[in-house]
């Protein structure tokens, strides 16, 4: 895997790391005890998670009526959260699959956590289509399960059904991809493990990885094949999620720009979430050597690009709606009617968080600053949540018949479930950070010789030496 890399490129691994150092660095969080901070954050997350479980139990026990929905706005926070979490889950595959195909070595520092985030986010996302059902106990009816009732079958025209397949495919492919990458790393932990229990667990998790050349060959092949499989999924999942809206007849939903716009938006929010997580993680887990300013900058660049795709979509939505001259388009989520209506604050929250604040990333100083990028990423997370909220709630609140116009207010249950999923997400992520190799150490090791700091310094030294010698010989 080693390859030649121009010395003028910044090193991807800082510090004078040897292979053993890498192993030590990655295994440290697993092999050492959790500190106080971890316990505090974990406890908070766990409480939030339990609260969410309580809220879900209350919903299922009593009825969807405990949410703030009504007969005009039949979806609100539930599907907002669903799309938001699915969107967040997009960065993982993009980083691991697309960047793998494009041979972007910088992905190696971040892909493990990005994929973990993807899977945990998809868990959260998958929860909402389930619990938003009025009769969750019949939820399996959305699967095409053969039954004795003859023609009783699912409706393949329904985008909700497409969602079922899209999300489950995405989750399974992502999971397999993630686990494949994890195998050599689990094996490394297994080999280092001193406690028999740990050794047992990790040997199970590593599927008996032996590190033979054949293993590596298969590993590389499978990675490539899965990357090829996963790449279209990056496009398809959010395209299909966007069909939930785009195939409808509701003003503001019925829009052909939705699929590319949603995909870009998903990547946008996914990268923002990766930034949010990794900026903290590199500090907490002492991964400064592997997640560098360059990583942050690269991700900021992706964010900036997708930001502009999304912004272009916003502008075109706004323009086309206005240009249509249709009264029905006057009040959609991106319209003057929305800006002057009761949801003006949500309208501006979307534009400011997603359109304006990310523009700061044009400045190199800002996009190379950990603290600035962290703040901007947080805003994008908020902005992307508002995007989905606006699409769902503003559009539904301003339907075709003005007599049916109304508003939505979340109840404590709506809020509780959302916070619960955030809690659940962090519970999973924190457990992951303590038990999984959070950086793909096997892959990192493969570029240590080409992109490592010491290697770069050595080559520099070498070339300087050569230069000196040449100059000396000239003399």
């Amino acid at each position: 895997m080693s390859h030649y890399e121009a010395p003028i490129r910044n090193p991807l691994i800082l510090g004078n790391k040897s292979y053993h150092d890498v192993s030590n660095d990655i295994a440290r969080p697993i092999e050492s005890k959790a500190n106080k901070m971890w316990w505090i954050v974990f406890t908070i997350s766990l409480i939030a998670f339990l609260w969410g479980i309580g809220a879900i139990a209350y919903t299922i026990g009593t009825g969807i009526g405990v949410w703030g929905l009504n007969n005009k706005i039949n979806w609100a926070w539930d599907i907002t959260n669903f799309v938001w979490w699915v969107g967040i889950g997009h960065a993982g595959t993009l980083i691991s699959a697309v960047l793998l195909l494009f041979r972007q070595k910088w992905r190696m520092g971040i892909n493990r956590s990005a994929e973990a985030m993807t899977i945990f986010a998809v868990f959260q996302a998958g929860l909402f289509p389930l619990i938003h059902m009025g009769r969750i106990w019949n939820g399996y009816w959305v699967m095409p399960i053969p039954n004795q009732l003859g023609t009783l079958w699912t409706n393949f025209n329904s985008p909700l059904l497409w969602d079922v397949f899209a999300i489950s495919t995405y989750l399974s492919v992502s999971l397999v991809f993630w686990w494949t990458g994890l195998l050599p790393d689990f094996a490394m932990i297994r080999d280092r493990a001193t406690k028999p229990f740990q050794k047992k667990i990790y040997s199970l998790l590593s599927f008996g990885w032996s590190g033979r050349a054949k293993d590596w060959q298969r590993f590389e092949e499978v990675s490539l094949v899965l990357a090829g499989l996963a790449t279209p999924l990056v496009l398809s999942v959010h395209t299909i999620v966007s069909f939930d809206f785009a195939t409808s007849v509701i003003p503001g939903w019925h829009s052909t720009v939705y699929p590319p716009y949603f995909v870009a938006g998903a990547v946008f929010s996914g990268f923002a979430m990766v930034l949010t997580l990794l900026i903290i993680m590199r500090k907490v887990s002492n991964l400064e050597a592997y997640i560098t300013r360059d990583h942050i900058e690269n991700m900021s660049k992706v964010i900036l690009v997708t930001c502009w795709i999304v912004a272009t979509a916003y502008l075109s939505e706004f323009f086309v709606g206005w240009y249509s001259g249709s009264s029905y388009e006057d009040f959609v989520y991106l319209s003057i009617g929305a800006a002057s209506g009761p949801y003006w604050w949500a309208f501006w929250a979307l534009l400011i968080c997603n359109g304006m604040i990310p523009q700061l990333l044009w400045f190199k100083k800002i996009r190379r600053s950990f603290i600035w990028t962290f703040i901007i990423a947080l805003f994008i997370n908020i902005g992307m949540w508002f995007e989905r909220f606006d699409i769902i709630v503003i559009n539904l609140s301003r339907g075709h018949l003005p007599a049916t116009w109304t508003r939505f207010e979340p109840t404590f249950v709506d809020i509780g479930i959302f916070i619960g999923t955030i809690g659940f997400f962090f519970v999973l992520f924190l457990l992951y950070a303590r038990t999984f190799p959070v950086v793909a150490q096997a892959e990192i090791k493969s570029i240590l010789k080409s992109s490592g700091d010491n290697h770069k310094r050595n080559t520099e030294k070498l070339s300087n030496l050569v230069k000196e010698k040449r100059e000396a010989s000239k003399d």
């Binding site: 009526g65 929905l69 039949n74 409706n155 009040f331 075709h400 207010e409």
Partner: protein, 1002 residues
């Protein structure tokens, strides 16, 4: 004869010695080792069951036993041991009867299933007075009201013995016995009362209507000699001018809408013109071609001015702000002469005299002084005298029936304390029964016998449709007992009808529910007394105006408040304010701004409003919510009767304030804003069409006559690649041939729909629609399958916006949302459109909503998983989700939460569970029944035989239902009519519900 036949199932069996035989003997391949298990001690002792195994068995059996103990709920169904002759389970019986509760009078047809009345419909055998308004439709639920009086205060023998003893004492004193009743218009009851009077000569019968028409009755008496109400046939009027008469509401007993509607849709280029002058925005005003706001005191002058302008006389009057419109109305009246009619709701005898004189002057064909109405007989003078007598101690006994004076009559509570014997007849516990010494629980009209003479020449019978549910006794039965008459009321009624029937069959009349004496017109020639109109007008002109005047009114929901404990009526959104569960002070925007009163929308979309203390003439109502009503005359406020009852009411139904406090109270209205806010249950908080004029399409009569259809009823265009194509070519879906078999369409004529909301209740009753309560209504979770959207016009039109250069700006949109101060009103009943290309159908992941062969969009409740995607994708927003379990849930303590209330449920329609979507089914249970009936009788379905609940209830004929594949059906013509349009047709949904646009004759 012996039978040698042998039956066999296979050749092997026939041949004998087969494998079958062998197998059948070996049904249990091994003998069950019962002995090994339950053997004797030795076997047990030697058995391998260890202590651990034993514990396992114990554990298992305990678990199994406890599981088995979790028994499902036991629902008892009791089969008929001996089937009653007249009941076939599953087949409905229909009985013709009448409602005559003192406020609503109608000849009705009652649907009875397995002995339970479940639905009220109009009795089509009756030619008149068969309109079922919302309250009549809902009255079936009042039968099953859990708060009804279940027994009288004493057993009837003791009751009567004690009462009669007192009567006898009074007979020999100088005091009198007074019957205070609402209008009963019952010949046999009158006869009974006369007999009572013979026995106790010092008896008086005082009729008291809570919402009184004394002025009209007195005026008619003065002019025509009899104390009855004139009848109006608006079908005969080309110009209708109403000054404060809500004749589409409860004015003079109501029931005028069917006549009115006959001329509201243009026929051969002609239709009636209706001009309304009023202070509150009523249903009548909302339906008028022209409406002018005028506060109550000014209406009097407007009336005299109109009289002067029409007749050319100059009665004393004063100018009003609407004199130009009055002049214009007079011109209109003069142009049609006898084809015009003027009506008024001013509660003043003199004003009513002027109207009668004016109609007499015009020789108005619409005014009918022959077939007069008896539905209001109350006499305020006598009531006032009675109160005075009671206070003076002159009354020895008061018997109240069909009235709740302690709630409606101000001084009654004080006065009745001076009366030694107070007997109240009532169906439920009321303010009046609380004061009474003896309370007689009366049956509901659906459990009673009776008769009613609603209008001259028309006699109706009341017959029970169910056995008495409780230990109740009719008023008439009590009278029979008090007059020592041993006959049952049924026999008494039948005997007393001998004179009415004049040889006709009783059974026939009972079957028809109604009986008409035809020869009256020849018999009766009414003489008109001369009235000194100058003096009348002079007296009228002395009326003082006040800065702020109060106009009391009745809402279509609660009316006079008798059925206030009826959740269907409480939840029925008022067609004008679209607010349920409340009454409120209607006030104009101008006055509200002066007093700093506000209505505002909170974050969950519900409406809140300011609270005020209202005082008139020294009486004060505290904490009255304020509703800012477009169209309200500046300087006037409105308040609805019927609310604010507490006694005998379920807590949830104790809504609003008691407006009866202000009856007959004149003077300036003082309003003081108080702290706090009121939470309204308003289902529509956006009032204008936002420039989407195609929603409720309407046009003017001149455009309708003179211009081609495409100018006033544009069809949407569909295009592919900039080529105009038909809707079918533009559609994504394959169409199937629906020209075979039945295909249902429903048409709603917006020109004749008055928005009376009777269809809403009919739908509620037919389809077991749950009541959800105020809080859920606030959250826009109303469950009505059929709603009536109401729009006001806005000052800010697209044209005006463009002229002002603000078109498309936020300022423009905000201005567009504001209704005009004097708006035109449009109504639009909306239910499921049963789209042929239904957006809901394509998005349901489990295909729970699918298209029926007959055109319906069907909802399979038990397949629904509740994703609510269908509701989101419905442009008409007609789908209703069961957010909670609305039946048998104490959080929704309405009729579906008690055994009695559930008796009203239609057994043909399932009660939906929590978490499923529901919506209008086009009453598929009714259409299927029609088809099955035809099938059973071996005939094709007859022309116009199909019907649905809302269409049945519609008394103006605005709704039509039928099979468009039958060229003879009425609907087939309507669908092709040039006034026909479809709601939001441009989306391409191809609805099976069509509208006919409203034509305004303005």
């Amino acid at each position: 004869m012996s039978n040698n036949k042998k039956y066999w199932t296979s050749v092997e069996e026939l041949k004998g010695n087969s494998i079958v035989e062998k197998l059948s003997k070996q049904e249990f391949p091994k003998e069950i080792p019962t002995d090994a298990f339950l053997g004797d001690k030795e076997t047990l002792a030697s058995s391998s069951t260890s202590r651990r195994d034993f514990l396992k068995y114990v554990g298992f059996t305990t678990a199994a036993a406890s599981l088995a103990a979790c028994e499902g709920p036991v629902i008892k169904t009791i089969p008929y041991v001996v089937k009653p002759n007249d009941i076939i389970p599953g087949v409905a019986d229909y009985y013709a009867t009448s409602i005559a509760d003192g406020f609503d009078f109608a000849s009705v047809l009652v649907k009875v299933r397995e002995g339970r009345p479940i639905k009220i419909g109009p009795n089509l055998e009756a030619k008149t007075n068969n309109q079922t308004n919302a309250r009549v439709q809902a009255s079936v639920l009042s039968l099953y009201d859990n708060n009804r009086l279940k027994k009288s205060s004493k057993d009837y023998a003791t009751f009567d013995k004690e009462v009669k003893a007192t009567f006898d004492k009074i007979k020999n004193s100088d005091k009198k016995i007074v019957f205070l009743t609402g209008t009963m218009a019952s010949p046999s009851t009158d006869k009974l009362l006369t007999e009572f009077t013979t026995q106790y000569p010092n008896t008086e019968h005082v009729i008291y209507d809570a919402v009184s028409e004394t002025a009209a009755l007195d005026a008619f008496q003065e002019m025509y000699g009899s104390r009855v109400l004139p009848n109006y046939n608006f079908a005969k009027a080309n110009v209708i001018v109403s000054i404060g008469a809500d004749f589409l509401g409860d004015w003079q007993g109501g029931g005028f809408e069917s006549g009115y509607a006959k001329n509201k849709a243009p026929k051969n280029g002609k239709m009636s013109k209706h001009i309304q002058f009023e202070s509150n925005l009523t249903l009548t005003g909302a339906n008028a071609d022209q409406r002018f706001a005028l506060k109550p005191s000014k209406q009097i002058f407007a009336l005299i001015n109109l009289y002067n302008k029409v007749t050319g006389q100059s009665l004393p009057s004063r100018a009003t702000s609407q004199d130009k419109a009055i002049k214009n109305a007079a011109t209109q009246i003069k142009s049609v002469g006898s084809k015009a009619v003027v009506v008024t709701g001013i509660q003043n005898k003199n004003a009513q005299l002027i109207v009668l004189a004016l109609n007499n002057f015009l020789q108005s064909e619409a005014l009918d002084v022959v077939n007069t109405k008896n539905v209001r007989q109350g006499d305020d003078t006598k009531v006032a005298q009675l109160i005075a007598d009671m206070k003076a101690g002159k009354v020895g006994a008061i018997i109240t029936h069909q009235t709740n004076p302690a709630y409606t009559l101000n001084d009654f509570t004080n006065a009745v304390k001076k009366v030694p014997l107070n007997i109240a007849f009532s169906i439920s516990s009321t303010e009046t029964t609380k004061l009474a010494k003896y309370v007689n629980a009366t049956p509901h009209y659906l459990e009673s016998w009776g008769d009613v003479n609603m209008q001259k020449g028309q006699y109706n019978l009341i017959q029970p449709t169910i056995n008495k549910l409780f230990d109740t006794r009719q008023f008439q039965e009590a009278l029979l007992s008090w007059t020592e008459n041993t006959s049952t009321y049924y026999n008494y009624l039948k005997n007393s009808w001998t004179s009415i029937l004049n040889g006709q069959s009783w059974n026939n009349v009972l079957h028809n529910g109604t009986f008409n004496i035809n020869q009256i017109e020849a018999e009766e020639i009414t003489t008109v007394n001369n009235i000194d109109l100058n003096a009348v007008a002079f007296a009228l002109a002395r009326n003082k105006s006040n800065k702020l005047e109060l106009a009391l009114y009745t809402k279509v929901g609660l009316g006079d408040g008798q059925q206030a404990n009826n959740p269907w009526l409480q939840e029925l959104p008022d067609p004008i304010t679209r607010t349920s569960w409340d009454n409120y002070l209607l006030i104009s925007r101008v006055d509200a701004e002066k007093l700093e009163l506000k209505n505002w929308i909170v974050d969950n979309g519900a409406m809140n409003g300011s609270l005020v203390d209202v005082s008139v003439g020294g009486k004060t109502l505290k904490n009255v919510p304020v509703y800012i009503q477009p169209g309200q005359a500046v300087g006037s406020v409105g308040l609805a009767y019927g609310y604010g009852r507490i006694e005998g009411m379920q807590e949830e139904m104790q809504t609003g304030v008691n407006a009866y406090l202000f009856v007959n109270t004149t003077g300036n209205v003082n309003i003081t804003k108080v702290e706090g806010e009121h939470k309204f249950a308003c289902v529509q908080t956006h009032h204008t069409m936002m420039g989407r004029d195609e929603l409720v399409n309407e046009t003017s009569l001149s455009d309708f006559i003179n211009k081609p259809k495409k100018e006033w009823n544009k069809e949407p265009k569909f295009s592919i690649d900039h080529q105009e194509v038909s809707i079918d070519q533009a559609a994504l879906w394959e169409t199937f041939d629906d020209s075979i078999g039945t295909k249902f369409n429903l048409a709603i004529d917006l020109a004749t729909c008055t928005a009376c909301a009777s269809c809403v209740i009919a739908c509620h009753a037919e389809n077991n629609v749950p009541v959800v309560g105020k809080q859920e209504i606030r959250l826009s979770r109303d469950m009505h399958w059929l709603r009536i959207d109401r729009y006001y016009t806005s000052d800010m039109t697209n044209k005006k916006g463009k002229e002002e250069g603000i078109f498309g700006s936020g300022k423009f949109f905000n201005a567009q949302e504001l209704p005009q101060d004097q708006p035109e009103v449009s109504f639009q009943p909306v239910m499921c459109m049963h789209c042929n290309n239904a957006p809901c159908e394509s998005v349901c992941p489990v295909a729970a909503t699918s298209h029926g062969r007959q055109g319906q969009n069907q909802m399979a409740y038990n397949r629904c998983v509740g994703t609510r995607y269908c509701a989101n994708n419905c442009p008409y927003r007609v789908r209703r989700f069961n957010w909670f379990k609305y039946s048998e849930n104490s959080a929704f303590n309405f009729n579906m939460n008690n055994d009695l209330g559930r008796m009203v449920l239609n057994p043909d329609v399932v009660v939906r569970s929590r978490g499923v979507m529901e919506k209008c089914s086009m009453c598929i249970q009714m259409t299927q029944e029609t088809i099955l009936q035809a099938k059973k009788e071996g005939r094709p379905v007859k022309t116009d035989e199909f019907s649905v609940a809302c269409v049945d209830a519609c008394s103006t004929g605005a709704m039509t239902f039928g099979d468009v594949n039958n060229p003879e059906d009425k609907i087939t013509k309507i669908v092709k009519d040039k006034r026909t349009f479809k709601l939001l047709e441009f989306i391409g949904t191809k609805p099976n519900v069509v509208y006919q646009l409203k034509v305004r004759n303005s």
